[in-house]
Symmetry: C2
Subunit: 253 residues, 2 copies
């Protein structure tokens, strides 16, 4: 099922979708576009009127600093929206760029408005936004209170869970098409330090790296080491676990 639309796979965690919902969601992901690695999808200050959705690849939100440094504040994985919100905020306060080659869709704003007339989809999109926020909070905790090796270990756990939720990881293995410099920009740490910390995790037998393929060798140990608790991702236990009992839909908006 790894080739199923990652958006749907993801949103299933946020709301109980009907076949009709799924059909509708599939219909927005038709006019795909292939974008090279290291291309900007949107830049800080711009006012786009379409919403970008990543269907495949690896992208990020980032801010440039005046000293030329870059701070990556989020990784965007298959199924992630880039700028669902920007219509309300007016202009982008950060940029979005690909890290690896990506398949993206540009969804016109009217289409989004149409989607959100469907209560379960609207709820799922809210859910996705709020999970993004929860991830930001957890990154802040990592950045502020965890030493670099635990921070990196925590990030790898998060990526494993998020990628698994969209069928992009299996058996503790996933692709991380990112340079150590980019990792450093996400961790707030120098490239040199990323390299050393990575070595330590390998020496400790927690992970292995073959090219850009990450293998989590001992997830329980890595989880313990980084004090990772997946609660903040608000995923259902099993992906697509339809056996969970029905919850009311509190149409917040």
């Amino acid at each position: 099922m790894a080739t199923e639309n990652p958006l749907i796979l993801k949103l299933e965690h946020g709301a109980r979708l009907t076949d009709e919902d799924r059909r509708l969601l599939r219909s927005v992901a038709v006019e795909t576009r292939l974008v090279d690695a290291r291309q900007d999808l949107i830049r800080e200050g711009e006012v786009p009127d379409a919403v970008h959705l990543v269907l495949d690849g690896f992208a990020c939100r980032y801010k440039m600093l005046d000293d030329g440094g870059r701070s990556i504040v989020a990784f965007l994985l298959p199924g992630d929206f880039c700028d669902l919100h920007v219509a309300i905020l007016g202009h982008m306060d950060h940029s979005i760029g690909t890290l690896a080659p990506c398949i993206v869709v540009e969804i016109p704003r009217v289409k989004i408005e149409e989607l959100t007339t469907h209560p379960r989809i609207a709820r799922a999109l809210w859910w996705a936004t709020l999970v993004d926020e929860a991830i930001l909070r957890e990154w802040l905790v990592s950045m502020g209170r965890r030493p670099a090796h635990k921070q990196l270990a925590h990030l790898l756990c998060e990526l494993l869970f998020r990628l698994r939720a969209v069928g992009r990881a299996s058996d503790g293995m996933f692709e991380l098409p990112v340079t150590q410099e980019e990792l450093g920009d996400a961790l707030g740490v120098s490239t040199v330090h990323v390299n050393r910390v990575l070595q330590q995790l390998r020496e400790d037998g927690l992970i292995s790296l073959q090219g850009r393929l990450v293998t989590i060798l001992d997830l329980p140990a890595l989880t313990r080491f980084s004090t990772f608790n997946p609660n903040y991702l608000h995923l259902r236990n099993g992906p697509r676990d339809h056996a969970v009992k029905e919850v009311q839909e509190p149409r917040l908006v």
Copy 2:
């Protein structure tokens, strides 16, 4: 106008409210409750069904770490919602506690749903959520890429702008009823270091501290020093600038 309902003052930055909207918003802020300093409003894991709104005082979102440390991931100022979202996510992935004595309102979920049937209010609440997210991103940048003194300076600039937006700061002065330990928990820095960094800012003539009263002595210099750019707060230039031309209301939800 500093005693006007801070929620309304804040939301005016996010949408063009009508008198009717304002009347409605005022009506939710009636059954206020006084909460002592250092009390939890909600704890991680709980599933509250009311929404908390801070009307006065100083609160924070935080997460506890297993080593006993605390990470403060947001400051909640007058006009800020604590948990507008939690209905959708199910359970809290962090706690919320007061730092100073607070006046809070608990708004039942139905009331929120009623509010969001009004398009301008719905839009304003979306806006508030997205600004919270933007603030998180900026904190992440600060944490990852700014040395502690710039990080602290940046935070003070942010607080000045946010408090000014709700009429709680004037002339570059505002109350910061927070201990240095709590500041450290927010900056991801030890108490001792907060103290030293604070001294430096005072020695450099950028700020002054009399008790819990912060005075920004040289805002342009502090802004430059911390590379603060208020864009991410998405405030209108002048508070309540009704001269701005009408923008369409993209009822996202």
